[in-house]
Symmetry: C2
Subunit: 316 residues, 2 copies
């Protein structure tokens, strides 16, 4: 039973969430010549007036005018809807997507965490679901103003292997905008590999008030990160996605060589924004539990984060 | 092979460490009529000049003059040396004790943690080792000035069961000073039971910046405390000291009914003093590991505390 993928050679895009991630990738797709619409909320008026500004080593850009919409506006149908909201907004994601998804619409999820694509597939059976993992260091510094600092590569994979044929035109669209995109052999493995970085370094950056270079450079914090990564590896293997030998060592080596970096959760915490605990910690804990695995170190930091997140926003 | 315990009916005491704990209990022993010498360091000059002041619901006292010594002074021999230093000073404990310990000297250790008595027994085979667990809420508010807030009961047990006969005159000396002291059936069990409170509530008070009432009143922090207590219970059982059924529930209920309380580690952290991580966390982890038990949640918070403690004192 095969399913013929709809594979437009020059896909059009709607970017849901015009922040540090969505604004950056949308800009690169525009630069590459794609038709791109943006959905914005708090920055809508500024972007309408002044355009979308991206400062980047790839070249500074101001897209003005730019096709930007409120989420309740009627929006032209696109081949691809890119989900670039934080997972803390996922309670309203289905509602936001409903007017954007038609038979065969490609949903490209760029969020961090686990099980987002399962939920999209359940809510939108008429859509084709892809996932992407982004290696991007980018911050929103003001309304409609994004500063891209470093990196930018994207790894893409289909949620359902029968949709693998959809990747090629997307990879081409990213490449046209100067973004190195590649097809990954397994979305689930890619998600778990990303968690192997996100779970220790996002959480510990908040709990210890430290950036990646301070954590990786301290023997005790590094050992703690390794303990957490070990639990991620165990859970990934239990869920059918074993890490290759040497993966953890490489991950730590790469982190050691990174430019000092404040993980997004640390920035969110300092700005008193909601933390992405549910999809980054609770879902991996739940999936591991379904395979009979407890992850006590991860559960410990998840509970600490939940407590601090609640208090952090309560005292705002 | 029996050993006849030396059991003076009116023992004399040297209190090593005239802080919130040693100052308080030494004062109560004085009030009860015992011969008590104090060893002080930073507060020595003030205590010599103004005496030792204890504000307490048991009655305010100023002991002036009082027998107070520097640790290098020649000190009259006492029957009992009470160890009331923080365990963060244990690297110099043997040196401090050497001039105080003679054949048959009773060493009464009132520190929190695990394995202190094993170390004393190894270093001082000519001594009789007792351990005490104190339920005391007391703070040093200035040099030689201690405020006793609440509680004060002491549980006593010998390190070597053949020394159980030593307990009675000590219990009488405490009782004469208004302190409820009782003989406990097992020192190791008492130490593990105390850790079941200290490990969660001391550590989390630092990591979450919260006092006991805030922790126990929050469902997520309480669940986290329960996870840590569960690991203590597991380790205690593996080490031959299983908790009685219902112990954990009672512990949490009692904590819930306590007056809001800043655990000593939280106060130490805020004052940028060294934290008692080694004996309160590392030794239990080590003892459990010797029995083949990993305690991943406790190891996780111990590493966090080590990192924060080091940074806290480095930036002083």
């Amino acid at each position: 039973m095969t399913q013929t993928p709809v594979s437009p050679t020059r896909p059009s895009f709607t970017i849901l969430g015009t922040g540090a991630l969505g604004g950056f990738y949308g800009s690169r797709l525009l630069v590459g010549g794609a038709d791109v619409r943006f959905i914005a909320r708090s920055d809508l008026a500024v972007i309408r007036r002044d355009g979308l500004r991206i400062d980047s080593p790839l070249g500074d850009r101001v897209h003005c005018p730019v096709a930007v919409y409120a989420d309740r506006d009627p929006i032209p149908r696109s081949d691809v809807v890119v989900i670039a909201l934080k997972t803390t907004e996922n309670h309203r994601l289905a509602e936001l997507l409903r007017p954007l998804v038609h038979q065969g619409t490609i949903l490209l999820n760029l969020q961090n965490g686990l099980t987002m694509e399962e939920e999209l597939a359940a809510a939108f059976p008429m859509a084709r679901i892809l996932g992407g993992v982004c290696f991007l260091c980018s911050n929103k510094v003001g309304p409609g103003h994004i500063v891209h600092l470093d990196y930018g590569a994207v790894g893409l994979a289909p949620f359902d292997e029968r949709d693998r044929g959809l990747l090629e035109p997307l990879i081409a669209a990213f490449a046209a905008g100067g973004i190195k995109a590649e097809a990954l052999p397994s979305l689930q493995l890619a998600r778990w590999r990303k968690l192997a970085w996100n779970i220790p370094f996002n959480g510990l950056s908040v709990l210890l008030g430290a950036d990646t270079d301070e954590l990786i450079g301290d023997p005790v914090a590094r050992r703690l990160a390794e303990r957490l990564i070990g639990e991620v590896a165990e859970a990934a293997a239990a869920c059918g996605c074993p890490f290759a030998e040497g993966f953890v060592t490489t991950l730590l080596d790469q982190t050691e060589k990174m430019t000092p970096y404040a993980p997004s959760m640390h920035l969110d915490y300092l700005a008193k924004r909601a933390l992405e605990i549910e999809y980054m910690y609770r879902r991996p804990l739940r999936e591991a539990a379904r395979k009979g695995r407890e992850l006590p170190a991860i559960a410990t930091i998840a509970d600490q984060l939940t407590y601090l997140d609640r208090r952090n926003r309560a005292t705002d």
